[in-house]
């Protein structure tokens, strides 16, 4: 445990971070190791090209967008706190979190998860997924197998289906409604008893009933 504490001490404001994100000390250390591994030059922050060095990510069709999601507008770097906070979106929803009306919504709430996904579509940050934005995502995910016309008809169809107020864009509310039945996968960090090794497992679709509780 000594090493745990010493590592933790090296991270500034670790208490606040843990409280905000809900990560356990072991999680934080695990992520800190990863952060340092990514930060090859030891500057204490990550640049887009650090992410670009991850080989698998380069093969991800929407990898660029996800990297982009780590960087707030106008900033070229991401520090450890932001890094952890972004990843905290992917923690599982705390089932038995105390219902305090005053406490801010946790990062890993379903709503925030959806917001994270939403902003990957909404690149111009106007709160709406326009047809062009959707087309870009579709183009990225579908590759060259599909013609432009097919792509556009899919996009039209998608917008039409989700668009409730008929403005030909998908707002966040509409996005959320469209995903209402979608069981949402997110990660779970967990530690095997007696082991320091952090395991990230895929966790399963939450059932629809639980989703509704969540909402």
């Amino acid at each position: 445990m000594g090493s745990t504490n010493s590592t933790l001490l090296k991270i500034p404001n670790v208490e606040v971070l843990m409280q905000e994100t809900g990560f356990s000390p072991a999680h934080i250390i695990r992520l800190h190791d990863r952060f340092k591994a990514l930060d090859k030059e030891g500057r204490g922050h990550l640049c887009p090209h650090d992410f670009g060095a991850i080989k698998e990510l380069a093969m991800n069709p929407i990898g660029d967008r996800i990297i982009g999601a780590f960087f707030s507008p106008g900033k070229e770097t991401v520090d450890f706190h932001t890094f952890v906070k972004i990843l905290a979106h992917f923690r599982p929803v705390d089932k038995d979190r105390p219902k305090e009306p005053n406490s801010p919504e946790p990062i890993n709430s379903r709503s925030n998860k959806l917001k994270f996904a939403f902003q990957l579509y909404d690149q111009d940050k106007d709160g709406k997924i326009s047809r062009d934005e959707l087309l870009q995502v579709l183009r990225a995910m579908l590759g060259m197998q599909v013609t432009d016309e097919q792509l556009e008809s899919i996009a039209d169809r998608t917008i039409q289906e989700a668009d409730l107020d008929r403005d030909d864009t998908i707002s966040f509310e509409e996005f959320r409604k469209a995903c209402k039945h979608k069981r949402f996968t997110m990660f779970r960090f967990c530690i095997r008893p007696g082991e320091r090794k952090l395991m990230l497992t895929l966790c399963h679709w939450s059932s629809e009933l639980q989703d509704q509780h969540e909402l």
């Binding site: 990514l38 929407i62 996800i66 995910m141 899919i154």
Partner: protein, 962 residues
């Protein structure tokens, strides 16, 4: 023998198209001799006793109707027998086996019908319970009648024929993603859980025996009890499917229990075999090495079975790549290869269930993509039918087998303690494993889930068949084990099956919902997968998504390339999903269309609502309003057709369009290799065409108006005529437009358009006023055909043909489907719908082309149309034809006037015949029309061509007055 014929029978019954020939071919030549004439020759009758029960003969005859006709046949046609001529002959021995099998199937099927008569009854009592009870009753009847029990659930029959049908169905239709998402839990329960149950039950039973609870007569040692524990501990797939399918628990819970029941087969098989061998050599001769052999055997059996299944899956997928020209036997390949996967695994004494399950899971994706839609349906229904009937037989025979008291011996201590141990260890095992699994699961399995899982651990026919297979030489207590197994099976299937439904309700276990994913969900699901993979990469963890992604890359780059047809490979999955959703919508639109047309609710539009939503005649909006959301592909509209004009094409078109097709057309053509288009489908297509046509008709007119406003003044006449064409069915257009209070986003000049419906109402309302207007006669020639048209098709009045329709490449004909689906991005995929779509689309396309160049065609149409519509008035028709063809008629100075007169009288007669319809159809004066009227350019065009100069009007007006 019975088993073989049963299989063949089932095959025959379900693949009636192919198998008669197949069976015929498989029968050796000399047997065919005996089969074919069925006793017309003495040779045949001599053969009969020898070949009695030969599957080839029997099947072919029992295929359609359970053996009855064939008996009839044999009786009536038999000429030689004994010493003299006998008209009828009793040939029971000849048909016995298939006859009995068919009778059993019939009894089972009828029993199913009876159970489902009462809805309340079936919701409370699972079918499996009823079938077992029925089996008990039948068994008792047979026992009383014949003093012995000839029918038993024969293990050979069960493992070779009944079980594969159920497992094949389960494996092929296994939701693959759900299965692999929960694979960890499933494997855990299947392997660890089953081992736990087997060992605990075995040891504890032995302990109880030592304690003296079990009677001394039960002559069994530790190995016997372990063996018994192994066979009794496995959750049974048949029972689980039968019970859980009716309970509808949520899919995660279902897949875990169901997956466990399939995958535990390897454990059961190995344990069973290992113990059998141990029992046979005697406990004293078992060495430590044998235990390791057992473990190795487990690995080989499970992994080997899986591999065999996957190999067959690849073969199957690869074969279906090349079945394009033999579509009719596509389903057969699937059944055969999946079944061969099972048999091959059995051949090498590997786990056959595992093999079949993985074959089904593995091939499903590729096979479904390769085979045709019809084959897909065939496979689905055949598999379901087979599985259902096999399940029925299994449960009935379980009941029947239980009656035979000579086969079993009762010991209360053994039965009760077995029951208790099974329930307790199942519950404890589930709780323990779930506790462990929940460390790794995002959504932990809740207490209620665990209760349902424990309670859903049903035992069934597998256990029974295994226990019957025991050798009494070695396992002395076999009879006691049989009795105990029967009780356990009955208890779990009947008592637990009966109570699990109320339990699930009472515990409020989340139920499954039967929604289909929307296109949004399809897209977002894929996007989320990508996101999660990326985040795993960023966080530096090789999690599930990482590997899933790797697998998908591999699948895309190698497997799919190898196993999918080229045409299929280049389609994106998302696009496929999109198309599927569109087909669904198209079908629902047809359904809705039917409703819209007939429902009075929608027939009377309220003016207020329409005026507040000025302009709406977009099919897309209509559909969106209805929540179905097919979207029109406007791009297709923009592509201009190669405007080659041929008169016969138009003629054909007009005929096809306006002649109401006879509903019944019997197809005398028969082909074994190609399915003909069914009557139903043709009618569907027709309905679809008409519905879509009408909608697009109005859509087109508004668009036309929007884009060619300068011509709007001239077009009015046309539009009016069009309105009247459809005015005998005013509801059709009105109703669906009424459903469209949506602003078309691309119509900025909305304010200039009046809503179409009020105009139409006006038209109808002021019909009589309209006749006095000077231009009325102009409309006469058009309105008459229209009226006739309307009267010929009372169900759905087709609008008069539009210019665009005349352009259609319709020569290919309505009757036959085009051989291929259109390549490009059209919305609705099935061929028949596709055709209708093309038709509608090209009618829209016509809007872009100016009306003038189309005049000759139009005139030709009207001239040709005349005789068709009014065959009695050949002269007038000819007159109009000559008139339009050469404006200067020989007979009259004013040919136009003459024609008008004739047309007028014609129309008058028509109106007399059907005053109501034609009065509605009378064209109103253009003066009363408002600028925003909906108009049919085509009719307008026709009027331009056929209508005489205005000078002739006064002449023709009078005769047309009623």
């Amino acid at each position: 023998m019975r088993g073989l014929s049963l299989l063949l029978f089932i095959t025959v019954a379900n693949e009636a198209t192919t198998d008669l020939s197949v069976t015929g071919a498989s029968v050796p030549p000399e047997l065919e001799v005996s089969a074919a004439p069925a006793g017309t020759s003495p040779v045949a009758s001599r053969y009969v006793p020898e070949e009695y029960g030969h599957p080839g003969i029997a099947q072919a005859r029992s295929a359609e109707e359970p053996a009855a006709p064939s008996t009839e046949d044999g009786e009536s046609s038999h000429q030689h027998g004994g010493g003299g001529y006998r008209i009828v002959q009793w040939e029971w021995s000849y048909v016995q086996t298939p006859y009995i099998i068919a009778s059993w199937l019939l009894v089972a099927s009828v029993a199913k019908i009876l159970f489902h008569f009462s809805q309340r009854f079936t919701t409370a009592v699972p079918e499996s319970c009823m079938l077992i009870l029925l089996g008990l009753v039948l068994g008792a009847v047979v026992l009383i009648a014949s003093k012995k029990q000839p029918y038993q659930l024969d293990p050979g029959l069960f493992f070779l024929f009944l079980l594969p049908t159920i497992v094949g169905d389960a494996g092929y239709f296994m939701p693959a993603r759900l299965f692999f998402d929960n694979l960890g839990a499933i494997l855990m329960y299947a392997v660890v859980g089953t081992l736990w149950n087997a060992f605990c039950t075995g040891f504890c039973l032995y302990g109880v025996k030592m304690a003296g609870v079990i009677d001394e007569k039960v002559n069994a040692g530790l190995m016997d009890f372990l063996l018994f524990g192994a066979l009794i501990s496995a959750v049974d797939p048949v029972a689980v499917i039968a019970v859980f399918e009716e309970v509808h628990v949520n899919e995660t819970l279902f897949i875990i229990v169901f997956g466990e029941s399939l995958l535990n087969d390897a454990v059961t098989v190995v344990l069973y075999k290992v113990y059998i061998s141990f029992v046979e050599v005697g406990p004293g001769n078992v060495y430590t090495a044998d235990y390791f052999k057992g473990i190795a055997s487990f690995l080989i059996v499970s992994i080997g079975g899986t591999l065999v299944g996957l190999i067959f899956a690849i073969i199957l997928a690869f074969v279906t790549r090349f079945t394009k020209n033999v579509r009719i036997i596509e389903p057969l390949f699937i059944f055969l290869l999946v079944y061969l996967a099972y048999l091959t695994a059995e051949l090498f004494s590997l786990s056959a269930i595992l093999s079949m399950t993985f074959c089904g899971i593995g091939c499903n994706k590729y096979v479904e993509a390769n085979i045709s839609q019809k084959s897909r349906t065939t496979v689905k229904y055949t598999m379901k039918t087979l599985a259902s009937i096999a399940e029925t037989i299994i449960f009935i025979f379980l009941g029947i087998s239980a009656v035979d008291k000579s086969k079993w011996a009762w010991d209360t201590g053994l039965v009760v303690s077995t029951l208790i141990f099974i329930l307790v260890f199942r519950a404890v095992g589930v709780a323990g494993q779930t506790w462990f699994l929940n460390w790794f699961r995002l959504v932990p399995l809740e207490k209620i889930d665990q209760v349902v899982m424990s309670y859903g651990g049903l035992r069934g026919a597998v256990a029974f068949a295994l226990v019957v297979l025991l050798d009494k030489e070695h396992v002395k207590a076999k009879d006691y084990f049989v009795a105990t197994t029967i009780v356990v099976v009955f208890f779990t299937v009947m008592f637990q099956g009966l109570t699990i439904k109320p339990l699930v309700k009472w515990l409020k276990v989340p139920r499954s919902t039967n929604r289909k994913p929307t296109i949004n969900e399809e897209i977002h699901e894929r996007a989320f997968d990508h996101i999660l993979t990326a985040v795993e990469d960023i966080a530096g963890l090789n999690g599930y998504h990482h590997w899933r992604d790797k697998w998908e890359q591999f699948d895309k780059n190698y497997l799919s390339k190898l196993l999918l047809r080229k045409s299929v490979y280049h389609k994106s999955e998302l696009w496929e999903a999109y198309q599927k959703i569109n087909i669904r919508d198209a079908i629902s639109v047809i359904d809705q269309g039917g409703n819209v047309l007939t429902s009075a609710r929608l027939s009377l539009p309220s003016m207020a609502s329409r005026t507040s939503f000025p302009e709406v005649t977009n099919v897309t909006n209509y559909l969106r309003e209805n929540g179905s959301g097919v979207c029109l592909d406007l791009q297709v509209i923009d592509t201009v057709p190669g405007a080659k004009i041929e008169e016969d094409l138009e003629t054909h078109h007009v005929l096809v369009e306006n002649l109401y097709k006879p509903r019944r057309q019997y197809q005398s053509h028969y082909s074994r290799h190609f399915m003909t288009v069914g009557e139903k489908e043709r009618q569907d297509r027709e309905v679809f065409q008409r519905n879509m046509h009408n909608r697009l008709e109005s859509f087109k007119s508004t668009r036309y108006k929007r884009h060619k406003k300068d011509r709007s003044q001239k077009k009015r006449k046309g539009s009016d005529a069009k309105e009247q064409d459809t005015s005998d069915k005013p509801r059709r257009n009105v109703s669906w437009q009424d459903k469209d209070p949506v602003v078309v986003p691309m119509a900025p000049e909305e304010d200039k358009h009046d809503p179409p419906e009020p105009d139409k109402d006006d038209d109808v309302g002021i019909t009589f006023v309209a006749r006095k207007a000077p231009e009325t006669p102009k409309e006469r020639p058009k309105s008459v055909p229209a009226a006739l048209d309307g009267c010929q098709s009372p169900v759905a009045a087709p609008p008069s043909p539009t210019c665009g329709e005349k352009n259609l490449p319709w020569k290919s004909g309505m009757g036959s489907l085009p051989p291929c689906v259109s390549v490009e991005a059209t919305k609705i995929i099935p061929i028949d719908l596709q055709q209708a779509w093309d038709q509608s689309i090209s009618s829209l396309e016509s809007l872009a082309s100016p009306p003038e160049p189309q005049h000759p065609r139009v005139s030709a149409v009207s001239s040709l149309g005349g005789p068709v519509w009014t065959p009695a008035k050949g002269k007038s028709g000819a007159g109009s034809g000559s008139n339009t063809g050469s404006p200067s008629s020989l007979q009259f100075k004013f040919p136009t006037g003459k024609e008008d007169e004739e047309e007028g009288t014609l129309s008058q007669r028509q109106q007399e015949m059907q005053a109501l319809m034609s009065s509605l159809r009378q064209p109103p004066p253009p003066a009363t029309q408002s600028a925003g009227k909906r108009r049919n350019p085509c009719v307008y065009l026709r009027s331009l061509v056929t209508v005489p100069p205005s000078g002739a009007e006064p002449q023709s007006r009078k005769p047309t007055q009623l």
